[in-house]
């Protein structure tokens, strides 16, 4: 009770501070911008963006509300033509996001992901080594298919619960070994759904936002396959490092005593693959074919994905209720407003002001990219301790993408690095989007939170190494 009261008090203070700053910061920003010689439009733009940032950082409103606020204010102050401000809602990135979210919804609601989890449990030999790997790869396989981390958490968490509930009975293990073993399973599940989030275009809403913020030419280059291909060395390094750290740090591989009868029972209850599941599989296959055959079909992958979502609606696998409730429309509004914000910024030539004022950083990016990586990773790591992930990614992207363009560095690479480093949550409070996962597994998985934190911290340093290792590859394929 006392803890709850403290929490409520902290939220109240945050809200008071947030609203106070929301009133004061834009006025100061406007006056400062005027004094610095900005014209009227640029000064108003800076003031509006400053309020939006305050709202994001202090989390006084859901993320998409400040985004919509900025869109509305840009229109009401006539900072740019409406088609520029609202361009995000008509962009390819927007329709790609709608489509990916639609397909992801069907993969989950059709029962396909649940069936996969049960079959995985049935096939895998009952020991912590195989189950750790299985849990990790379950999260990994659904990373490009389910574009929301909490959605993947909802797939993996029940499997973890089943393993932990049914596998430890009758095992002769001391308490510490058992806790270590369960923590290893928990960590591999948790890390499996997040580790390679930056490596697939469709794995998180933030990736789709960054994609939408890239110049059109880069968007055409870095669609699904090229995005994953360009991040291949980073992904491979992270995977290898993860298993090495898991093996060395937890060292608790042992047999499990799982009774698989209930799995057979559940699979029997589910029956044969349903039409909805077949259609979900078909949708995934068509999307994959669309990606690989784009040079033959000459159809942009965005529209292939949109056609798949349309077909799902047409055959009724994605019904109107799921379309309304399961697709994260608040995120889509955030995406539309963010792309509009960037385009308004470009229209007002504020990107040029950013480049002029941060020329020293642009020079680092151009002349000493290795040092820039260190600077970027450590800055993001420090800021992520106090500012939520979405705000960090949006702020860094809005600042660094114009700089990258000006200094001749790939905007995709810059966006990828921001996503990659920002997706580091050493402490649980840094990843509130995973709170469902923790809450759902808390009653059965008595994990050692410290162990998970240490592992995430180690992986952060591996991330820096992975980026360094990837530099020759990026140079070879013309990204760097």
């Amino acid at each position: 009770m006392e803890q709850q009261a403290d929490r409520k008090k902290a939220i109240l203070w945050r809200e008071v501070l947030g609203w106070l700053l929301s009133n004061v910061v834009p006025v100061i920003t406007y006056l400062y911008a005027q004094k610095a010689g900005f014209n009227r439009e640029s000064s108003i733009f800076a003031a509006i963006v400053s309020v939006t940032l305050v709202m994001w950082i202090t989390e006084i409103l859901p993320d998409f509300v400040p985004g919509l606020f900025s869109t509305l204010m840009f229109i009401l102050f006539s900072l740019a033509p409406n088609e520029v401000i609202l361009s995000g809602f008509a962009s390819e990135g927007f329709f790609l996001a709608v489509s990916v979210l639609g397909l992801g919804t069907v993969i989950v609601t059709s029962g396909l992901s649940h069936r996969y989890s049960l079959m995985m449990l049935k096939i895998m030999p009952p020991n912590t080594f195989w189950y750790t790997i299985s849990l990790f790869f379950t999260g990994l396989i659904f990373t490009p298919l389910v574009p929301v981390i909490s959605g993947r958490a909802a797939i993996v968490a029940p499997v973890l619960n089943v393993i932990v509930t049914h596998s430890y009975d009758g095992l002769d293990l001391d308490e510490q070994t058992m806790a270590r073993s369960k923590t290893a399973l928990f960590a591999s599940s948790l890390i499996g759904i997040t580790l390679l989030s930056a490596s697939f275009l469709s794995s998180t809403p933030l990736n789709l936002i960054i994609y939408g913020m890239l110049p059109l030419q880069e968007q055409q280059s870095f669609q699904f396959i090229k995005w994953s291909y360009a991040s291949f060395v980073v992904s491979a390094t992270m995977l290898i490092a993860f298993f090495i750290i898991l093996g060395l740090y937890f060292r608790t591989f042992h047999k499990l005593n799982i009774n698989k009868d209930f799995i057979d029972e559940e699979l029997k209850h589910m029956g044969r693959l349903k039409i909805a599941e077949w259609i979900a599989v078909f949708g995934i296959v068509i999307l994959a074919v669309g990606m690989f055959a784009a040079t033959i079909t000459k159809i942009n992958v965005t529209w292939v994905a949109f056609a798949i979502m349309f077909s799902l609606l047409l055959v009724g696998v994605l019904n109107s209720t799921d379309f309304r409730t399961k697709i994260d429309w608040s995120f889509l509004f955030l995406l539309g407003s963010m792309i509009g914000l960037v385009n308004t910024m470009n229209y007002l030539r504020i990107d040029a002001i950013v480049v002029n004022n941060l020329g020293w950083l642009a020079n680092y990016m151009h002349s000493d990219f290795r040092l820039f990586i260190i600077l970027l990773s450590l800055t993001i790591f420090a800021i992520r301790l106090i500012i939520p992930m979405n705000a960090v990614v949006l702020i860094f992207a809005a600042t660094l993408l114009p700089l990258a363009k000006a200094s001749g560095i790939s905007t995709w690479l810059t966006g990828f690095l921001i996503l990659f480093f920002a997706e580091t949550a050493v402490f649980p409070f840094q990843a509130p989007y995973l709170s469902n996962f923790r809450n759902y597994t808390k009653s059965v998985v008595n994990q050692q939170e410290r162990g998970v934190s240490v592992m995430n911290l180690l992986l952060f340093f591996v991330k820096i190494a992975a980026v360094y290792l990837s530099i020759p590859f990026w140079t070879k394929i013309g990204v760097l």
Partner: protein, 362 residues
């Protein structure tokens, strides 16, 4: 989901038919990929695109893709290599029926890789020099339009200024009784940055017969400081300074890093510090702040390249049967207030021409 089998069958037929039609339309749709060497904000590229659109808008059945290599803003070897890889990836991705390559860099980094490729037809535009360095002379799949600067028109314009502008400061220095007397004393110098296209132009401008004027040679500035030096030097030696481009000029900023100097700043500095008339060889020089320019028409480059692409696609004419063309059109751009300030008066027809092409600025 619980639908009668007949409804399900009809839905499947509907989807299959739609998919087939869309695929057929898409696969058979001609693709033109336009690769610019520079960036979309660069006036030269912008106006070539305007010219190309004039032709391509009549062909809505084409799918036109654009790629910008951005080599004016970044011209170091590493970036050039990267831009080449990315542009060639775009070619692989779109598999265009016709590849339109604008300016020399696009031909150097992309075009030469597709010479005699049976699946891709090449149309080049904006080549400042010859087309043989890119292998087009031996190619059966390449044609295009060259961009050779209008030196004769420039010489005639200088002659005209000499005849008509007696108030012009440098002319007053030595003006006697008309151009015939003074022509031999009129000295012209050309200042350029060290970009690829200007390196090719340099050969042509140096070879051009500027007589009766005296041509002092071309001066290639490696950076903005050297540019300034050449301009100041020109005040004592030349009567006219010609320039074409300056977008790759760099300077060291306060923090000790190299940065590109904005074109407007270069031209403004040049105008302020040059005592002799500064005339541009590109249309956009006036947009950057010059008083007068006689330039190759970028619109013609875009229009001709697009028309050649249409002939290849619609009339199935092989590129080798379409003769390579030399540019024919040039455009005059002028800034009235600056010409007046320099005491330069040009015949009315110059103003009419500049106004009719929307290149007249007060």
């Amino acid at each position: 989901m619980r639908r009668r089998p007949v409804i399900v069958a009809l839905i499947i037929v509907f989807l299959l038919l739609s998919a087939t039609l869309v695929l057929y339309s898409s696969i058979t749709k001609p693709i033109i990929l336009v690769i610019h060497s520079y960036d979309p904000d660069y006036a030269w590229c912008r106006d070539i695109t305007v010219g190309a659109h004039r032709v391509l808008k009549k062909h809505p059945n084409y799918s036109v893709k654009w790629f910008y290599m951005d080599l004016k803003n970044h011209n170091d070897p590493a970036f050039r290599r990267k831009a080449g890889i990315q542009a060639r990836e775009a070619v692989q991705r779109w598999q265009p029926n016709v590849l339109i390559l604008i300016d020399d860099d696009a031909s150097e980094l992309v075009g030469r890789h597709y010479v005699n490729n049976p699946k891709i037809n090449i149309v080049f535009a904006g080549l400042n020099g010859e087309y043989s360095p890119y292998g087009y002379d031996k190619a059966v799949n390449a044609t295009g339009i060259l961009e050779h600067k209008q030196f004769q028109a420039m010489k005639e314009t200088i002659e005209t200024i000499e005849k008509t502008s007696k108030g012009h400061e440098s002319i007053n220095k030595s003006y006697n009784n008309g151009v015939a007397d003074r022509a031999g004393h009129v000295k012209i110098m050309y200042i350029a940055d060290n970009s690829t296209s200007l390196a090719i132009d340099k050969i042509y401008i140096d070879q051009f017969d500027w007589r009766p004027f005296e041509y002092l040679g071309s001066y290639v500035a490696r950076d903005f400081e050297e540019w300034k030096k050449f301009v100041i030097d020109g005040n004592n030696r030349a009567d006219y300074i010609l320039l074409a481009n300056y977008r790759t000029l760099k300077r060291t900023n306060h923090a000790g890093y190299d940065e590109l100097v904005h074109p407007n700043e270069v031209v403004q500095w040049t105008n302020t510090n040059s005592k002799v008339p500064v005339i541009g060889l590109n249309l956009f020089n006036v947009e950057d702040g010059c008083m007068l320019s006689i330039g190759v028409s970028p619109f013609e480059q875009g229009e001709v390249a697009a028309a050649m692409a249409v002939d290849i696609i619609d009339k199935h004419i092989s590129p080798r049967d379409i003769p390579i063309r030399l540019n024919k059109q040039f455009v005059v751009a002028m800034r009235h207030s600056m010409l007046t300030a320099k005491g330069i008066a040009l015949p009315e027809v110059y103003e009419v021409f500049a106004r009719s092409t929307d290149n007249y600025k007060n």
